[in-house]
Structures are given as C-alpha cells and as structure tokens.
Amino acid sequence: MKPILSVRDLAVEYRTAAGPVRAVRGVSFDVHPGESLALIGESGCGKTTLGLALLRLLPAPASTPSGEVLYRRRDGEVVDLLRLGREELRRFRWSEAAMVFQGSMNSLNPLLPVRDQMRDTVLAHRRMPAAEIRRLTEDVLRKVRLDPARVLAAYPHELSGGMKQRVLIAMSLLLDPQVLVLDEPTTALDIRTQRAIVDVLRELRERLGFAMIFVSHDLPLAAELADRVATMYAGRIIELGGVRDIFYRPRHPYTVGLLDAVPPIVGDLPALVSIPGGPPSLLDLPVGCPFRSRCAHAQDDCAAAEPGLEQVGVVHTAACYHIVPADRRVIRGEDVTNA
C-alpha cells in the first residue's frame, strides 16, 4: 500500500537572536492510510515543531530550508505540501488533513458559542448551506460522544476540559480529512478524561479510517493508540518501528531510558533510574551522537559522527552504533519474548 504521507529529510530552522537554530534536522518517515504514528520525545526534541511543519503551520521565525512533505490526495495525485500555493493550501487544510493543537482547550474563542465556531470553520474551507452545516456539526459531535443539543449552544467556559478537547477533535473531522495531526492530545487532562479521549480516538479511527499522527511525551499513550512509534531526540528521529518493536525490543539507549523511566502501576516497587543530564542545546550541538553525553553505552566512535537510522528489524530502524541487545524485555514481572 502506498503511503499517504511521505516526509523526506525535513529540516526546520528558527531565526533567533543568537543565530539560526535547527529544531528539526533531517526527518524522514512514511504514514500509510489508516495508520497511526506516534512522535514521542521530551521537551526540545522538535516533535511539536515537526507536527506543525507537516501542515505548514509554523510561526513566522521558522522556515523549512530543506526536505519534502509528499501527500497523496484523494484523487491520487502526489503534492509536496511545502511547495503548495496559498489558495491550494487553504483548500488542502481541513478537508485533506487537519490538526488539533496543544492546549486546545484554550484555542476556542471564549466569546462565541460552539455552534458558531464550528460553522465558521466549515465556511472557511467550503461553501455549504446552513441546514447542511447544522447536520454536519451535529453528526460529528455525536461521533465524539458529545450531545449536540447540550454542546452546540454552549460557550467554551461552560464545558469541561475533556469536552472542549472532544469539540476540537470533532471540529478537525468536519470535512472528513484523510490525516489527522494531534499535538499532545491528552496532556493537561485528568486521568479519567484522558482515558475517554483515548477511547474516542480509537473508536473514531475504526469508524472513519483516517491516518493519525500524534505528538506526545507520554510513552504509554503510544502503546494505547499507535501502530508505529518514532522516538525523537535533538531534532531527529533516533528510533522508528512498530509499536511492539519499540516497547518489547527497543534498541536505542534513549528509547530504553524513556521506557525505564515510566513508573509501572502494576507489580512491586521497581528500582527506577532516570537518564542523567539533559538534552543538548540546539545552538551548540556536539559532534557525533547528540545522546552521547548521557549514554551508558557510549564509546569512542560515538564522538566521531552522528549515526544514521539503520535497519535493526523488519520495519524497525535505530540511529545508534551500539544498539542495545534484543534481550527479553521484562514487563510487569513477566518475560516477553521476541515474537
């Protein structure tokens, strides 16, 4: 199956007072129709920048000096999103691909009821008679398990955080996009609300079949929602694989470190270790592997040049000269063998 989105060597650069900073330094990946990809990383790794770049939603000081974002439209034609003209981009957004931003709960206009905001979103991209818009908005709200009668007339402050997040997910689905990009969809929500959002997203994917790219720092979320996972560090993808590959057979020391830092809710008390140090400054990246200074497996050759993504499994790549051996991963006191 041909991918619906192909990113090739994408770079994003910010103009800052201290000089240009590359927040994304050559990222490549494919997303297939109906597939869900998680971009996992911590602050400063470039994941949010990457998410915004995919739909050309970056703020002014940012630019994409190199790379392509190839998108296969519904009519089969492949276009490079980075080269689309303004009008084409407007038509592309929302109907082909849509985005749910971070801190969405605060993206709703506090002065307008939900009904108006949804209508405005539709009208910004399509002409549609009022009756049809109403039917569409009611339909899409039901899909996210919200009661249209209650929500459409409400103002944002009358809705809970979880409801607002669902409204935003609904809004992104208004024009039936093929790809949905979500930036930290569950952060800042209560744990039970997070569970509701995860369930809603899972259900929507099954019913509507869109491809999903979501950005998060929460690794367990990827276990719930992702088919494939990419871990990012210092502006690059350092490991990419199927969800079971990443959780049961992680090969990059950073991915292993992230997994080891998740306190398990089941089982006895584990001895948890965190990754020492902090991420490097993007202004002053060291030569060689950027994770080197924090890595327990680092050796001399790690300082020479930055490792590229190499095949470590069937559909599994990692950027490391000394990948962690594919031993059994011990999860919750049970051995999980390499299937």
């Binding site: 911590e42 602050s43 955080g161 209560d190 744990i191 039970r192 997070q194 569970r195 995860v198 720092h217 929460d218 690794l219 367990p220 979320l221 276990a223 719930e224 088919d227 494939r228 199927g242 969800v243 079971r244 590959d245 959780f247 049961y248 470190g257 992230l258 997994l259 830092a261 998740v262 306190p263 398990p264 809710i265 089941v266 008390l269 584990p270 948890l272 270790v273 965190s274 990754i275 020492p276 902090g278 559909v315 999860i331 919750r332 999980v336």
Partner: protein, 272 residues
C-alpha cells in the same frame, strides 16, 4: 509510635460561588508522621492542592483545625509560629515561576540562611549553599551558584527550589505536583533526591499528585490518600491502595492509567 507532626482534623474549605457554596475540601482528616511519606492523589478539582495549602498554613480552613505538634497553628505566636514556619516547607508545581528571576541561585539560598542566622559570615553562607546544592544533586555546585533561573532547565530549577526549602532544616516538605511540569525522564531523578532526603535527614513528605503511578513509586513505604470532590475516599498503606483498592473511585483511576504494554493495552492482535 512518635507523635504526628501535622494533624488535619476534619478540615473543610468552603467558599461561596455563583451557584451556591462549593466545598473544595470537605471534612478531611489526615496525619503526617515524622520521616514518612503521604501521597495525596486526586484529579483536578478534588481539593488536594487546597488541602496541601491548609496543611502548610497558607490557606485558612473554614472549619476544622490544623495542629502542629499538638497545638492549633492559629494560636501559634512568636517563636512557636516561627518554629512552625521553619518546620514546614512547600515546593510549588511550576519551576518557571517559583524562583525569583532577578536573583541568582546563591542569592536565593543565602536569603533564608542569613535572615535566620543559620550560619554567619559570607564564607559560611557560601559553604552551606554549596552543601545544599550537592544534596540535591546539582553538581559541581560551584557552577550553579551564579546562575539565574532562566539559565537553568526545569529539572534544575526544581532542585534549587528543593535546596531553598532545605535551608531551614524543615521536618516536613509539601510537594505540590512538583514533577508535573518536568520531562518524564527527569521526574524520577527528582523523586530519588526527595527519597534520599527522607532517608538521610528524616524529612517527612506530603506529596500531591494526580499520577497514581508516581504516588506508588514515591510513597511505597508510606501511605496514600485519594481525594474526590473534596472528600477523602480512600486512605491506607500505598501497596494496599494500589493493589487492592477498596473504593470504586480509586479503582476507576487505576483502570484509566495507560499501560506501556501494547498487547495489554489493545486486546486485538496487532499486525505491526
């Protein structure tokens, strides 16, 4: 069994809102014992932060009493009041606003050291500041003395906040979601610093969090209390609360936690 440091006795905090009264905290009773950890878990609006602030003496309850070593804190004056203030410290959630942006790390630590004459003389103050920074794993400590908050990462800032809280040798530290705004890989190291303080210095902790998994890690040898809409719904030794939750709210919270295990998370056979 030693006497508890802080006792919250049927404490309530009610305030009048537009739609009648809101019981942010509803008849909560807790005991904080010396050298022990108590994790207070709840979602937003559960009242856990208000309870923590009441225990710290920052907010006055509308009903009930808070006792420090047996005495109602409202009746403390003079030296006794200072004693309470020194014994109970607080770490805020947001490392980006809990440090004064125009003061460097040395200034932040020196202020309480000098004010309360913990040590005298510039050399002694400097030496003590270096000790405190080492205690919170900010090494080499000399590198951090002259830094301003904007030059530090979130994790480093939180450690400075902990060091600041330690300046007066407190017996209890109340940590209000102290790790929520930190990266996942750094949270554990901060918690390990706090656990070491409990082991080495006998500091007790009241740890507020919405993350039961963190409560389990941090409070394994202590107790966990679960709050829901202002009330305490469950309270007991942490292993018991986590593994055999009695209240359905606790059970619902535990069921909602995502597992870092794809096969368990999704029962369907994944083709990837």
């Amino acid at each position: 069994m030693p006497d508890p440091l802080i006792v919250l006795d049927r404490v309530s905090h009610v305030f009048a809102g537009r739609s009648g009264q809101t019981r942010a905290v509803d008849e909560v009773s807790l005991e904080l014992e010396p050298g022990k950890v108590l994790c207070l878990v709840g979602e937003s609006g559960s009242g856990k932060t208000t309870t923590a602030r009441i225990a710290a003496g920052l907010t006055r309850p509308t009903a009930g009493t808070v006792r420090f070593q047996g005495t109602d804190i409202r009746s403390l004056t003079g030296d006794a009041a200072t004693g309470f203030r020194r014994a109970v410290q607080y770490i805020h959630q947001d490392p980006y606003s809990s440090l004064n942006p125009v003061r460097d790390v040395f200034g932040t630590l020196a202020a309480p050291l000098r004010r309360h004459r913990v040590v005298r003389g510039r050399e002694e103050v400097r030496r003590r500041a270096l000790e405190l920074l080492t205690d919170v794993d900010l090494t080499p400590p000399e590198n951090f003395l002259g830094k301003y908050p904007h030059q530090l990462s979130g994790g480093q800032r939180q450690r400075v906040a902990v060091a600041r809280a330690l300046t007066l040798a407190p017996r209890l530290i109340i940590a209000d979601e102290a790790t929520s705004m930190l990266d996942v890989s750094i949270r554990i190291s901060l918690l390990n610093v706090l656990l070491r303080l409990r082991d080495d210095r006998g500091v007790a902790f009241l740890f507020i969090t919405h993350d039961l998994a963190l409560a389990k890690y941090f409070g394994w040898h202590g107790t966990t209390a679960v709050m829901h809409e202002g009330r305490l719904v469950e309270h007991g030794p942490t292993p018991r609360v986590i593994n055999e939750p009695a209240h359905e709210y606790t059970q619902a919270l535990l069921a909602a936690i995502p597992l870092p295990d794809p096969d368990r998370a999704r029962p369907r056979a994944a083709s990837w």
